[in-house]
């Protein structure tokens, strides 16, 4: 993202895709959401008696990867600790704050396998996931992010991805695995994400958003709903029904659940993040002329 936004020349009033957060920032939402979702789901898996150590490791690696990517993105990485200066209102500060106990609790959960630490790390994961969602929602400059339903979407996809990764992690741990339980989680959270996604999309269309955002999001609708969503559900159902190769069905379901979330967030941040654009509330009266209708090009939906 070097030299971002250096070419303002010729910019128009129409919303345009944000240029300042590239794949590195997107990676934080992708990996961080998956990792924190995985931490949350791990608690339930652990409560069900599963060995969640691989999952915890994977979760922490994911969160750390996301944060590292961001560190490479920011303009002044050597003063990155300034990120902690604004806990009063900044969800980026809060995300960074939560990251500390998240790693601590996660590490303790890994070493002790104690349910308390597992629960603590899950709580941190939830806080982290929520913080990330709020980072997006509080960005007023990006209509596709600031929509209130983006919050549930981000949370649900984090959980669905978490379930997906848990399912994947299950293939790494020695049997026996609670395949049916995991499959049920994948199904439930995939359904939740589909519901959240469609609710988000419908509300965005209803309330109005930059046409570019709507187009980019519409472009992945089928893949979200019928690709990763339905696919994960079908494969998970196959696993739950204990068809031959149930673990592999589960893994496939997990991969689809996680991959669908990654695609969603990649699109949301790098393809559908059209800014507000600018607008003229009333065209000016030039001399003895007349005013004209408001100008706010590049917006779609009903709003």
């Amino acid at each position: 993202m070097k030299s971002a936004r250096q070419k303002t020349a010729g910019k128009s009033i129409t919303p345009r895709q944000q240029q300042n957060w590239d794949w590195r920032a997107a990676s934080n939402f992708i990996c961080g959401g998956s990792g924190s979702g995985l931490l949350i789901l791990s608690l339930f898996a652990a409560a069900a008696g599963a060995d969640v150590r691989p999952a915890i490791v994977l979760a922490l690696v994911l969160v750390a990867t996301g944060l590292t990517c961001v560190w490479f993105e920011i303009g002044r990485p050597w003063r990155a600790l300034n990120v902690y200066r604004h806990i009063q209102t900044s969800w980026m500060t809060r995300e960074a704050v939560v990251a500390l106990p998240l790693f601590l609790c996660g590490a303790l959960a890994f070493y002790t396998q104690h349910i308390v630490w597992q629960a603590a790390s899950a709580v941190c994961g939830a806080a982290f996931l929520y913080s990330q969602a709020r980072i997006l929602v509080n960005n007023k400059g990006i209509p596709a992010w600031r929509h209130p339903r983006c919050l549930l979407l981000m949370a649900s996809t984090g959980l669905a991805e978490g379930a997906g990764f848990l399912a994947l992690a299950a293939t790494l741990a020695p049997p026996p695995q609670p395949v049916a339980t995991l499959a049920a989680a994948v199904i439930a959270l995939s359904v939740l994400r589909i519901v959240a996604w469609r609710a988000y999309l419908a509300a965005l269309r209803h309330d109005g958003a930059p046409s570019g955002s709507l187009k980019a999001l519409a472009g992945i609708d089928a893949r979200i709903v019928f690709g990763s969503g339905a696919g994960a559900i079908v494969f998970a159902a196959a696993a739950a029904a204990n068809l031959p190769g149930a673990v592999l069905w589960l893994a496939a379901a997990g991969a689809l659940a996680a991959g669908g979330g990654w695609m969603l967030k990649y699109t949301l941040i790098l393809r559908a993040a059209f800014n507000q654009g600018l607008a003229i509330g009333h065209l000016p009266v030039r001399g003895r002329g007349v005013s004209g209708p408001p100008v706010k090009p590049g917006w779609g939906g009903l709003g």
Binding site: A9, G10, K11, R286, G287, R288, G289, V290
Partner: protein
């Protein structure tokens, strides 16, 4: 933003006069000896119409100073072969060597005589944009004056990029080299192609903004929605080059539909030739004894000379005149008895009868109802009968104006537009009256400072005119310059500016080829050609052919800022200290070009805010050195003493700051004398300010009455009339000019002679461009679109094409990334926004990116500015198109004043991916 830790910060007063809409005041902020910012000069807030502000261009001057592509020391050419693809092989030399090289050349030329065997000056000079280079060339005008005859014929855009017909006819009719609305007072402005918001400078922009808020109405009539159209109350997208038809229809509504009772009868009667009786031969009926034009005296019911004491002339009507004479070309007199005399006004009414809005609608592609409404709004806003007090004097208040833009008032059709515009003004008494259509300065007449002083009684109750002679005894049968202005264009006259306002494309064209029936001495090449602040290889037309001509010139000297497409062919590059680095004083205020009419007049200093970069030198130093080395020091100093420095004489009856003619004076000495003379002169001896005072304070002005804005009171004082609406004199001199040319067996100018008419007729103006294509051997239908050019406020003049800041900010303004076209038209051609396109005329092609818009006629393309650079650093990477590349230079597209229009018939196509040219 301040420098992290500046040691010194100063603010240096100066001026910007990079375009004709200046000068404007500014200050240069200097941090630790480096110019960092341009700021308005608020010390001038109360005296400058734009409140001490400069436009966007001035903000580029910092980068202009430090542009790494500048030429910073003299260079000479080492490759004797000149061509676009030849490396000039410029090598650095010292100033001493450069000046020696030049002065040796000049001295050897001078030894042969300043005129060559064809009677043409051996030295030619081309300066850019509207005389503004003079505001940066220090005392070089004094050197040129000392030299003697110099040919300014080779245009860099004059005639094709300016409002040429307005310059000539405007000055003829109402001492209006440039014409403007009296924007501070006007209520209604029909702006036909005038892009005043882009080209009028801060004074015009400020005034029109005030007028908008005040509630005036401006109707913008032009094929595309320009910046000015954007800021207007209404846009009328007229078909290109049909403006005369539109304006004829406006006149039709006024005189044929509303009628004389709705017009300013008193003005028509007393200040115009409307009452003059015209005979059946189209000439004025004149008194057999005095030869004065006759009018019909309503009181005595008989025809009497126009200036008969107590006469009450009839403005309209037909009358029997017992005895009269008429005077045709070459003083051919006809005795007439019992003849019908028709007033000039009635001739006008009858003439305009056929030009109804319904007639014009089909030509202009503008609904008749729109034309009729605009005409009626114009008349209804004219406030006929109302008065206003200006500085204690009661004057008519006529707040309606018609303004014309480039390409409307040059080339074919421009005469008709200028005439119609001025007639529209006189019909309602708005010519040169408060709120109306004003001239703002003179250049063909003198003095330049005060057009009122150029008003004197001439023939037939009109102002005296200094036309070039067309009578047999005095016609200049041997051209005195290569554009033949004195011979071919009577109304351009022969003062200092006249040469440069001749048919400048003829100078270029006839270097290559002359017409078959050419019977003048052969056009020769100039032996030395000076060029400064001008790049005709980009800014004129048919640039591919033009550079071939430039390449043949034997010795070209360029006062060069960067290498460019013209000085690529130079033999010597002399880099002068530029805007922020050199010393000069100029006049400000009074009434100048465009909307620079002030309530003050005075002088302003430009001073070195920073040290000159590299080994660039002050132009005054260069001029003095040249004068000394060519043995012209005495004449040069005397020229300075006469005021050739452009400000004031250094010696008058009341003061004497003159320079010793025999001595070489420093730059500061010279300008110190000018400062003292100027301040003493302006204050009428009350104050004398030296250079140091001016360096601190920047400018010196004295108040001026707004009455100086209006010429009609001056005409009234002299008892004179405007030579409108009937053009008997033009008719006669056109016939005389025809006689002279035909006596010399030349007919190549015959089509132009058709423009000399008493009342202009509509001729198929746009059709001339189609005919030109056919004449060139191509098919008109192969070039279905019009290509127009329009001005860029950010780029035009002053080397701004090299300024990165201008490039950057200009791109915020639509069209600065390519060629503007209607989105539907583009769709028909399969062109999307940003696609690379070819725009081809019958002489060549230019290439650029499509800029899709709704605010442009579907049959029209528009290119902003002038680009297609291939040598100028920075600009050569723009990949921008240029009309100049594809506009042909031909006699048939040259009008009688010698001007042409920035308009070409073109074909359009989308270029394939990867296609190269």
């Amino acid at each position: 933003m301040a420098s992290p830790s500046p040691r010194s910060v100063t603010s240096v007063p100066s001026y910007c006069y990079n375009c004709v809409a200046g000068p404007d005041f500014m200050k240069v902020k200097v941090v630790d000896g480096v110019a960092t910012e341009i700021e308005p000069n608020f010390d001038a807030e109360q005296i400058h119409p734009a409140r001490g502000r400069v436009c966007v261009k001035a903000y580029g001057l910092v980068q202009k100073t430090y542009n790494p592509n500048r030429i910073l020391q003299p260079m000479k050419r080492t490759n004797p072969k000149k061509g676009r693809n030849e490396d000039p092989g410029f090598v650095p030399i010292s100033w001493d060597e450069a000046l020696e090289l030049l002065s040796t050349k000049l001295t050897s030329v001078r030894a042969k005589g300043v005129l060559d065997e064809s009677g043409l000056p051996r030295v030619a000079a081309t300066f850019g944009h509207g005389g503004t280079p003079g505001m940066y060339m220090g005392t070089f005008p004094a050197f040129l004056a000392a030299w003697g005859a110099i040919d300014y014929s080779f245009g860099s855009g004059q005639g094709v990029k300016c409002v040429h017909s307005e310059h000539l006819y405007g000055e003829f009719w109402h001492r209006a080299f440039t014409v403007a609305a009296d924007t501070p007072l006007t209520r209604y402005n029909i702006s036909i192609g005038a892009n005043v918001e882009a080209s009028g400078g801060p004074c015009a922009v400020t005034r029109h903004a005030d007028a908008r808020v005040r509630g005036y109405k401006r109707v913008q009539v032009e094929p595309h929605l320009s910046v000015t159209g954007a800021c207007s109350a209404e846009w009328v997208p007229i078909r290109p080059k049909t403006d005369p038809a539109f304006m004829f229809a406006l006149i039709h509504v006024l005189v044929c539909e509303r009628g004389i009772d709705a017009l300013d009868v008193a003005f028509l009667r007393d200040r115009t030739s409307s009452p003059y009786l015209v005979g059946p031969d189209g000439l004025y009926l004149r008194d057999p004894d005095s030869a004065k034009p006759l009018v019909w005296d309503s009181a005595s019911a008989r025809a009497v000379p126009f200036d008969t004491e107590g006469v009450m002339p009839a403005v309209s009507g037909r009358f029997r005149v017992a005895a009269a004479i008429s005077i045709d070309a070459d003083e051919e007199r006809h005795a007439l008895a019992d003849v019908e005399g028709v007033t000039a006004y009635t001739r006008l009414v009858e003439h305009m009868g056929k030009y109804s809005p319904e007639w014009a609608a089909g030509i202009c592609d503008v609904p008749a109802a729109t034309i009729r409404r605009i005409a009626n709004e114009y008349l209804d806003n004219a406030c006929i009968g109302e008065t206003i007090e200006i500085d204690g004097v009661t004057l008519p208040y006529r707040p309606v104006a018609v303004t014309l833009g480039k390409s409307v008032n040059n080339g074919w059709g421009a005469f008709e537009c200028c005439w119609a515009r001025t007639v529209l003004a006189v019909l309602v008494g708005a010519l040169e009256n408060p709120g109306g259509t004003l001239g703002t300065t003179v250049r063909l007449n003198r003095p330049h400072d005060n057009r009122h002083m150029s008003v004197a009684a001439g023939e037939d109750g009109f102002m005296a005119q200094k036309f070039n002679a067309t009578d047999k005894a005095n016609w200049t049968s041997r051209p005195t310059g290569r554009n033949i202005h004195k011979t071919l264009v009577p109304i351009v006259g022969n003062t200092a500016w006249s040469q440069a306002l001749g048919p400048t494309q003829l100078a270029w064209m006839f270097q290559r080829e002359v017409p078959e029936d050419w019977n003048f001495p052969a056009p020769t090449m100039p032996e030395v050609w000076f060029i400064y602040r001008s790049n005709p290889a980009i800014s004129f037309w048919d640039t591919a052919s033009l550079v071939e001509t430039i390449a043949t010139f034997p010795f070209t000297v360029s006062f060069a800022y960067t290498v460019d497409e013209t000085n690529h062919f130079a033999d010597l590059l002399l880099p002068e200290a530029t805007d922020l680095e050199s010393l000069q004083m100029i006049k400000v205020g009074g009434t100048k070009f465009v909307e620079q009419f002030w309530e003050h007049r005075g002088v302003v200093l430009r001073q070195p805010a920073v040290e000159p970069q590299g080994d660039t030198r002050d132009f005054t130093w260069i001029s003095t050195q040249l004068a000394k080395r060519t043995g012209l020091l005495d004449a040069y100093n005397n020229a300075l003493n006469r005021g050739a420095g452009g400000v004031m004489p250094l010696k008058t009856e009341t003061y004497d700051f003159s320079l010793d003619p025999a001595a070489e004076h420093s730059v500061e000495e010279i300008w110190d004398a000018v400062c003292r003379a100027a301040s003493t002169n302006l204050s009428e001896g009350r104050e004398t300010r030296d250079l140091d005072w001016f360096k601190e304070h920047g400018f010196y002005t004295v108040p001026m009455s707004k009455l100086d804005w209006y010429l009609s009171p001056t005409l009234e004082k002299h008892g004179l009339r405007y030579e409108l609406p009937y053009q008997e004199r033009l008719l006669r001199i056109g016939r005389e000019l025809g006689n002279r040319l035909h006596e010399h067996k030349m007919h190549w100018w015959d089509e132009q002679l058709s423009e000399y008419t008493a009342l202009p007729e509509w001729h198929d103006v746009p059709g001339r461009w189609a005919q030109a294509i056919v004449k060139a051997g191509a098919k008109a239908e192969d070039f279905p679109l019009w290509l127009l050019a329009t001005k860029s406020m950010q780029y035009h003049t002053g080397g701004n094409v090299s300024i990165a800041l201008m490039r950057e900010v200009a791109q915020n303004v639509r069209g600065h990334t390519g060629v503007i076209m209607n989105a539907k038209t583009a769709a028909q051609y399969g062109i999307a926004d940003g696609d690379r396109v070819e725009i081809r005329s019958h002489i060549g092609a230019t290439y650029g990116n499509a800029v899709l818009a709704q605010g442009i006629r579907p049959d029209t393309l528009v290119i902003i500015g002038q680009f297609d650079h291939w040598a100028t650093p920075f600009a050569k990477d723009f990949e921008m198109p240029s009309l100049n590349t594809v506009a042909p230079m031909t006699i048939e597209l040259t009008d009688a004043t010698g001007s042409g229009s920035d308009i070409v018939r073109v074909a359009l196509r989308r270029m394939e991916a990867g296609e190269t040219v």
